[in-house]
Amino acid sequence: MYKRAAEFTIFTVLAFLAFTTVTSVLAVTYTIADPTGDWGYPSLYGMYPRGSGYVRMSLIFDTLVWKDKGGIIPALAESWVYMPEKNAYVFNLREDVTWHDGKRFTAADVVFTLNYIKQHPWEWVDSNIIKEAEEIDEYVVEIYLSKPYAPFLTNVAGTLPVIPKHVWEGVEKPDQFVSEEALIGTGPYRLSDYNKAQGTYLYEAYEDYYLGKPEVDRIKFVKVSEEIAPTALKNGEVNASSVPPEILDDLRSKGLEIAEEPPTWAAKLIINHKKEPLSSKEFRSALAYAIDREKIVRIAKRGHAVPGSMGLIPPSNRSWHNPNVRKYAHDVARAKGIIDDMGYTTDKDGYYHKDDKRLEFELLAGSVFREEFSRIGELIKSDLEEVGVKINLRGLESKVADARIKNWNFDLAVGGHGGLGGDPVALNRNITGGGFNSARYFQNEELVTLLKKQLQEMDIKKRKRIVYRIQDICAQELPAITLYHPMWYWAHDGTVDIYYTDGGLALGIPIPINKLSFLEYHKQR
């Protein structure tokens, strides 16, 4: 009997030992699903100018500072200080960093990178912000700004990857520099394969990473369509993927974990404020009262969104959101009152008229390519027609609609943009910026002045006051009507702690793939 027990114990111990050695020898691979697949060669100039391209590049390259769950943390720079009298930042660099080819990382590389993007513009960082960079000693850099620039730390130091001087010196056409050398960085991973057609990437851990070798040995990005991703997750074929909100409960019941993104995106009713009567801010406020945004969230988004803040910055951006802006709760009577006061009268068809002209607008709202926008278009149409404003819905392919908005060839349109989770420089981009996503609204002088001023205010408390005031004015002027801020989700198996970086990755990318996560791995399954 005792012999049996002894035999059993020895057997169990042996089996356990064998099991642990096998699992420790087996390399840990983490697979991430992506519906698009190909995001370009993950070098600075080779990646496609999208968040997903940046994520793939960020595994290979490091920035001076980085962000985690709690905010800004040191990366290539150990410490830094802003000197207002010189309008310059001083960065003290880590001394134990090596490039993937074994050479040492020094201040010369930082200076070189900053000069390089001045000659070869890089989409993510406006190099005009930087006046010049100076190497004080081997591990100290001073960066002089052309003007005080408040978002510098996150949007320049935390976004611009440092490239090795000894490799990039003499590279004249960076967009065509796609050899293996273009991928020498200081990051925790190196690319071992990229397949454009299959949309796959394979990364191997960099042994000599300055924070220690990552515990996840290999990271795979594979192309999996949105519809299939949940099944692939449940089968264990992939470890993490973005997922639609409808299946969250099902995935939770299968033991998967959900990472929820604090909303950073805004769906908007874009208004052609150069056209009568949309040019009147009273009239725009009538539209705001007429549209039931709570209903849009409930019906079109099935509750997976928060009603839009008219100050544009969503409530989830706790550092900058102004909770006291005008709310425009759904109020049909008030909307009608405003339109009545403007001299419109209701005709027998139920719609407002003035000078024999019916009050009607064309609303560009999605198409088969953007079904979500079509649903929202329908809801807005029914709300506005209830008040007495006739709406003609028009579905256009998104690029066609974008072009019409850009050229002011529209009345109303449903659109949207992201970038609202990070620095409030987003307000400048989307109110006075030049792109079609921007309201391009210059009618209120105070607003225009404050937007310029907030970028140069280096004192965070003072800046916050300005940003609050901007949101107040924005909510009164209504350059556009913010409809809702959608919530997005990722599901994962919990072996790696997948989280949404505070304020978004780098300058605000809402993707929960932060390289720091892969330094730790929890053997769960």
Binding site: V178, I228, G419, G508
Partner: protein, 322 residues
């Protein structure tokens, strides 16, 4: 034959012009399409003008066309704005998968369609014929993506016996025979969906031709000579059915390469020309659109030429015609 080649050259030039012009006549420009949506980017004025300049977007259309022709003559089919790579390299990474999928689907559906068509036509009016006819007619009514999704749900999601997506397992470390097996496994479902959709075309055509031919005097002669059924069915009648089927397959190749492949490729995330063309359209990536249209044009014209030549074999009268 001489006239023939001039015809092909004219057709080629017209297609070249259209494939250059059509994408550019669409509203929306590539810079906005590629850089406009991502609000995080800092598009400075310098960067914009540099991009426009490097893509020749600031030049008038006719100049752009001549630059295109000049580069084409040197064998350069363009540089992709979005992929940031030569178009040829982009297309070449996608083309083999589409050729594999479409080629096998086309061959398989044609062979199966012809055989079932001959058998069905031979048994015209019988239960076998009626059942097949009804079956094929209803199949042809289904869009390819619908069949694809049904297959995907049944075999991959519910039963879990076939892969969910893609053309091969990423980084499986396979090579040789296991790799071939892996590729075949991924090919089965998209291939089956496409074959089922294509099959009805050649089936109906063969069956109809068969019915007509069976009424011809030479069939009566063949039967009267006492030849076996099978010989009459395939050698005498069957061979004569091939003419329209070959034409149809040849013509169909080009359109199916794009339209047929597109939906099935999207359903199965299969990396092919359909997916590439669709994405390039959304990104207003003119060079890739032109490039893929150009390559498809070359394929279609080449196949038409091959069909022309094959005709002479199948029907010697064509060669002698003036």
């Amino acid at each position: 034959m001489k006239v023939n080649i001039i015809n092909y050259a004219i057709a080629f030039f017209i297609i070249l012009l259209l494939s250059f012009l059509l994408p550019r006549l669409m509203p929306g420009d590539p810079l906005t399409a590629i850089y406009g949506e991502e609000t995080l980017l800092s598009m400075t004025q310098e960067l914009k003008s540099q991009l426009a300049d490097s893509f020749d977007l600031d030049k008038p259309l006719w100049k752009q066309f001549f630059i295109y022709l000049y580069n084409l003559a040197r064998g350069d089919i363009g540089y992709s704005y979005y992929h940031n790579a030569p178009v040829l390299r982009v297309v070449i990474s996608y083309l083999p998968w589409t050729l594999l999928l479409m080629g096998t689907a086309l061959i398989l559906s044609t062979i199966l369609g012809v055989i079932t068509g001959i058998e069905s036509g031979w048994r015209r009016g019988k239960t076998f014929d009626k059942a097949l006819l009804v079956g094929m007619m209803s199949l042809s009514g289904f869009p390819s993506f619908f069949i694809g999704i049904t297959f995907l749900l049944t075999f991959s999601v519910t039963l879990g016996i076939l892969p969910l997506q893609g053309a091969k397992t990423a980084y499986s470390g396979l090579s040789g025979f296991p790799l071939l097996l892996d590729v075949l496994k991924h090919l089965i479902l998209p291939l089956a969906s496409l074959t089922l959709v294509f099959i009805s075309g050649s089936f109906l055509l063969t069956r109809n031709t068969m019915v007509t031919i069976l009424g011809e005097p030479f069939i009566l002669t063949a039967k009267a000579k006492g030849l076996r059924d099978r010989q009459v069915r395939y050698k005498h009648a069957g061979k004569n059915c091939m003419l329209p089927v070959v034409t149809q397959t040849g013509i169909g190749f080009g359109t199916r390469l794009i339209t047929g492949a597109l939906f099935v490729e999207v359903v199965f995330s299969y990396p092919g020309m359909g997916t590439l063309t669709y994405n390039s359209l959304l990104m207003r990536d003119y060079p890739v659109l032109q490039g893929s249209l150009l390559i498809i044009t070359i394929f279609v014209l080449g196949i038409n030429l091959a069909v022309d030549l094959l005709y002479r074999k199948l029907d010697p009268r064509v060669g002698n015609a003036r």
